[in-house]
């Protein structure tokens, strides 16, 4: 049994549920034969990957859906062995080069070289190029991005790149100018609701509109998340009721508790406990920046207007350091400590005002 997210994923440009005009444009693009490099960007869960797969299908036909997982081995100039797993069909290859960390440059160059040099196996297909799909381009090092730009020009005749990322802020301008940028906005709340209703209908379920709306709002317009939530609700209780609670993943609950602990008490001892919980979250593979954002969302609501600005500035400051640094716990803890101090001062002032 596969998840609803996968089960009801649209497979062709015609069947996409929203951004229909964009889909039509993409169809034109494919039909035009003059296919450029693409840079697809948009928030998480907005359907970038779905659209890319649809484009590929439009380019090559159903053959692209026959996927296989391959392991590729590379050796860096410093004789370090690298291994990366790719997903590929006869026509394209999908890589997440950020898996290999700082050695991504080597991987990118070698991979594209091999792909571009091997000629298309089936001459019957109408395309003279293969597609290399790179996900999370924004996590590539600058070095790798520069290497990418050279490679793009060099192998233009035999291979096209489709780059996929959440934001183009971290993509160097040289790459941006060489690609056709395609922005995939997150579906609106209404669109999410529609999709949810449609999926439930296909499953033979009756989804109350109110619940659908709440799920959509809670998912923050992230369609993948919304579908997962909806399915979790289904497991939790069926038939649906309009006022049923939308269950959250354990780590979010845990994070919420942690935030609550911070608001309850501001002392070194509590900070120490919070640190233990932060470590617990980190061991569960929750990225530090996600923890930071989650904490902020939960903490900010217990603050007064003026404080919020201060807190958000602090969060932004430490989140930046966290991205740069290596020991994320230092920065997370510094943020928590700072918040505690701010909040404590706020409480004390509040008490002083009363008297």
């Amino acid at each position: 049994m596969s998840l609803w997210v996968d089960k009801y994923r649209p497979t062709s440009l015609n069947k996409l549920d929203y951004h229909k005009s964009q889909a039509a444009h993409l169809k034109n693009l494919v039909a035009g034969g003059d296919f450029p490099h693409l840079l697809v960007y948009g928030p998480s869960g907005s359907g970038k990957k779905t659209r890319i797969m649809c484009i590929l299908k439009e380019l090559y036909g159903p053959g692209v859906e026959k996927l296989r997982i391959e392991q590729h081995h590379f050796t860096t100039p410093s004789k370090k062995k690298l291994e990366i797993s790719t997903i590929s069909s006869n026509y394209h290859i999908e890589v997440n080069p950020s898996d290999v960390g700082n050695n991504d440059r080597v991987v990118i160059q070698e991979l594209i070289k091999t792909v571009a040099q091997v000629n298309q196996l089936e001459t019957s297909t109408q395309r003279e190029f293969k597609v290399v799909l790179l996900t999370e381009v924004d996590r590539l090092t600058k070095d790798a991005q520069h290497a990418l730009r050279r490679t793009m020009e060099k192998y233009m005749s035999t291979c096209r790149l489709i780059l996929c990322c959440n934001s183009t802020s971290k993509v160097i301008p040289a790459i941006k100018s060489r690609c056709l940028g395609i922005r995939v906005a997150a579906p609106s709340i209404d669109e999410v609701c529609q999709v949810l209703q449609m999926v439930c209908k296909k499953e033979g379920l009756n989804l109350p509109g109110e619940l659908a709306r709440r799920i959509a709002e809670k998912s923050n317009r992230n369609l993948r998340k919304a579908l997962l939530m909806c399915e979790a609700c289904r497991v939790q209780q069926y038939p649906f009721s309009a006022d049923q609670t939308v269950s959250e993943p354990d780590w979010e609950v845990y994070l919420k508790e942690t935030a609550h602990m911070i608001v309850q008490q501001q002392s070194p001892k509590r900070l120490f406990e919070v640190r233990g919980r932060l470590y617990e979250l980190l061991t569960h593979c929750i990225p530090a920046d996600v923890i930071m954002k989650g904490l902020l969302q939960n903490l900010i609501n217990s603050c007064d207007g003026e404080l919020k600005t201060e807190v958000i500035q602090t969060a932004a400051y430490y989140e930046h350091r966290l991205q740069l640094g290596q020991k994320s716990i230092y920065h997370l803890e510094a943020f928590v400590a700072k918040f505690m101090a701010i909040y404590k001062r706020f409480l004390e002032e509040g008490i002083a005002d009363i008297f």
Binding site: H25, L26, N28, L29, A31, G32, G33, D34, P36, Y41, G42, P43, S46, Q126, D138, R149, R150, E153, S167, T168, S169, K170, K176, S177, L180, G181, R183, V184, A185, A186, N220, R221, D289, M292, K293, L296, I300, G305, K308, T309, I312, Q313, A315, A316, Y317, E319, H320, Q323, L324
Partner: protein, 359 residues
């Protein structure tokens, strides 16, 4: 061929736009030439707007001699096009053998330059063309994006320039003349390329539209002007991309903005309006929406900058506070910090400035 080049008229370029429906199966390679190449000026006269340069160049063309050249100016103003057109006029069919073009994406270490330039300039150059016409007895080396060369490489180049001066002319092309070391700059005739004016851009774009039979709104053209920032190449690329996506439909300003990744002005305006409310929740929701729309934060702050600078509402002091924060946020974004948090930090600063003003 010669005759074709002499006329140098854009209109003569054959229209080879093929109907998308028939393109499958039988395709010719030349069909998908980027318009930037397709509409590159073929002769010096054709170069848009750079009258001073053209006059000087034409003079030296008549004398069949050329000094070493240094072209500088903002991107997309025709620097590369000019030298290409000039060398085409000089060499005609021998263009390929007489001109060596090196641009930034090639490996350009000191050794590469030395070797390539050396072997290239060692070949003799006769002063007669195959068709019997006279042509200058030298070759041209074009170094595109020369300002991205390291100082050491430039220093090495200076020696090479002197050594090969008998047979070879150099043309250096760069955006910032200040990044070219003084000894090299002094060896070259410097030409500054002015940013293209709007009407020149519009004229060129219109020409292309007519040629390609594209329906294009006037709004879309102004959109192109805005997004390209005087860069003709960029404008043409955007236009082509838009055409590809729309395939025959009318191109609107929104399409252009979409392709260029520009955030519509009303989004910026309503962001500032939200800031005026002095409500953190509203601001947070709005910023979250912008993020969900997939607008990159770097683009947003770029446009926010332009808007805030011109805002009458804020005093200089307040603007300076905002600008400082803007710089910090930009740096943080470059380092990979979270977009939402950084934007919130920026916007809450703006919000503070808006609301403090009244006190």
């Amino acid at each position: 061929m010669q005759a074709f080049l002499k006329t140098g008229n854009l209109g003569t370029v054959s229209k080879d736009k093929v109907d998308p429906g028939t393109s499958k199966g039988n395709k010719e390679k030349n069909k998908h030439v980027p318009w930037v190449e397709k509409y590159r000026p073929r002769c010096v006269d054709d170069v848009a707007y750079q009258e001073e340069v053209v006059v000087v160049l034409k003079k030296s063309l008549q004398g069949s001699d050329l000094p070493n050249l240094l072209f500088y100016g903002p991107p997309g103003t025709g620097k590369t096009s000019t030298i290409l057109a000039a060398s085409r006029e000089l060499f005609g069919d021998m263009f390929k053998t007489r001109v060596l073009e090196l641009n930034a994406s090639d490996e350009r270490g000191i050794n590469v330059i030395r070797e390539k330039v050396k072997t290239f300039s060692q070949q003799s150059a006769s002063s007669v063309r195959p068709d019997g016409k006279p042509c200058p007895p030298f070759k041209i080396v074009i170094l595109d994006e020369a300002d991205s060369m390291t100082g050491a490489a430039q220093a090495a180049l200076r020696r090479t320039m002197e050594k090969q001066s008998k047979t070879t002319r150099f043309c250096l092309i760069c955006n910032y003349v200040s990044r070219i070391i003084e000894p090299i700059a002094s060896r070259c005739a410097k030409f500054r390329f002015k940013p293209l004016t709007e009407d020149i851009l519009v004229k060129r774009l219109r020409q292309i539209c007519d040629n390609e039979e594209i329906e294009c709104d006037d709004d879309a053209l102004t959109g192109l002007l805005y997004t390209s920032e005087g860069d003709l190449r960029k404008a043409i690329t955007f236009l082509q991309s838009a055409t590809r996506l729309k395939s025959g439909d009318r191109i609107t300003q929104a399409d252009i903005y979409n392709i260029a990744g520009v955030i519509p002005n009303d989004v910026i305006d309503s962001l500032l309006t939200t800031c005026r409310f002095n409500s953190y929740e509203k601001l947070q929701n709005f910023v979250q929406d912008i993020m969900n729309e997939g607008h990159p934060a770097s683009q947003l702050i770029l446009q926010l900058h332009d808007t805030v600078v011109q805002l009458d509402e804020l005093g200089d002091k307040q603007k300076s506070v905002v600008m400082e924060k803007l710089a910090v946020v930009d740096k943080c974004l470059m380092d990979g910090a979270d977009e939402f948090l950084q934007l919130m930090a920026l916007c809450s600063t703006i919000m503070q400035q808006f609301c403090c003003k009244n006190i």
